[in-house]
Symmetry: C2
Subunit: 130 residues, 2 copies
DNA sequence: ACATATATGTAATAATATAACATTTATAAG
DNA sequence: CTTATAAATGTTATATTATTACATATATGT
């Protein structure tokens, strides 16, 4: 049967919040902001986050323990992610560069091993902060 | 005056532990293992870790909140790091690939911005686990 | 000897994340 | 519709990771 919307209630609430945020959100910031919607405890937040990461709707910025909505319609599987992170204002942008993705996806190390997933974080100053 | 060894006592103890480990170590694992040497509290561990990361002697594996010794004599500044991480056995290897480093160091995004630092984590299966 | 920066020791607490278990809701099959 | 199964939710407690704050000590340069 055809499924109109694949997000559950909590997942949708949390996705909406992250999606409309201009900056990465931390789990407990999310928790605080969705308590008015009935989501009261950490596990509810973390479970939704896990699912959203798993399906590529959001990504975790590992160096910040924070989450951003995916801005790249081509990466539902979340296996090839790259971000630019401003060291001054904390701004994060998802990088969508086909050449970069191709280069890294096809990268093989000295033993010839290839990898099925990567995450790349660039750090510097954004345009505003330069 | 000439300085023989640039690590303080706590820094040296903690570096030695990480350096002889075959796997990434977490802060509280480190704490547990150096208590016999007189390091008794988290701030002592985290301060040493911060300094060691800052000087490039160790690196933090962000996706694991764990630390490995630098195996790449050329990256004292810790501004261009890449790792391969086995999803099965947790093994981590630092990647030292001049071409990759060059490619990423000279990468500029669509707005022409260049970045002064990056961290790249590849995920897959190591030779043993394949 | 003095000033300054770096490192240490210690207690308390903050921030991030998971375990465990009961219950409910959605989906699919018979 | 009924039943079986999987997915999601609610709730309490706890585990793990990291920092604040403040007192003291050690190293470094003049
Ligand atoms: Zn994406
Ligand atoms: Zn900025
Ligand atoms: Zn290194
Ligand atoms: Zn392995």
């Amino acid at each position: 049967m055809y499924k109109e919307n694949n997000l559950s209630k909590n997942q949708q609430i949390i996705f909406d919040l992250i999606n409309k945020s201009s900056e990465p959100l931390k789990a407990y910031t999310i928790l605080f902001n969705v308590q008015k919607k009935g989501i009261k405890a950490p596990p509810q937040v973390y479970r939704a986050l896990d699912k959203l990461v798993e399906t590529g709707k959001i990504h975790k910025i590992e160096s910040k323990n924070a989450f951003v909505a995916c801005r790249n319609s081509g990466c539902e599987i979340s296996k090839a992610t790259a971000f630019s992170i401003c060291e001054s204002c904390e701004m994060v942008d998802e990088i969508n560069d086909a050449k970069l993705t191709k280069y890294l996806t096809s990268f093989s190390d000295k033993k010839g091993t290839k990898y099925k997933r990567f995450n790349l974080e660039f750090f510097g100053l954004c345009k505003k902060c330069k």
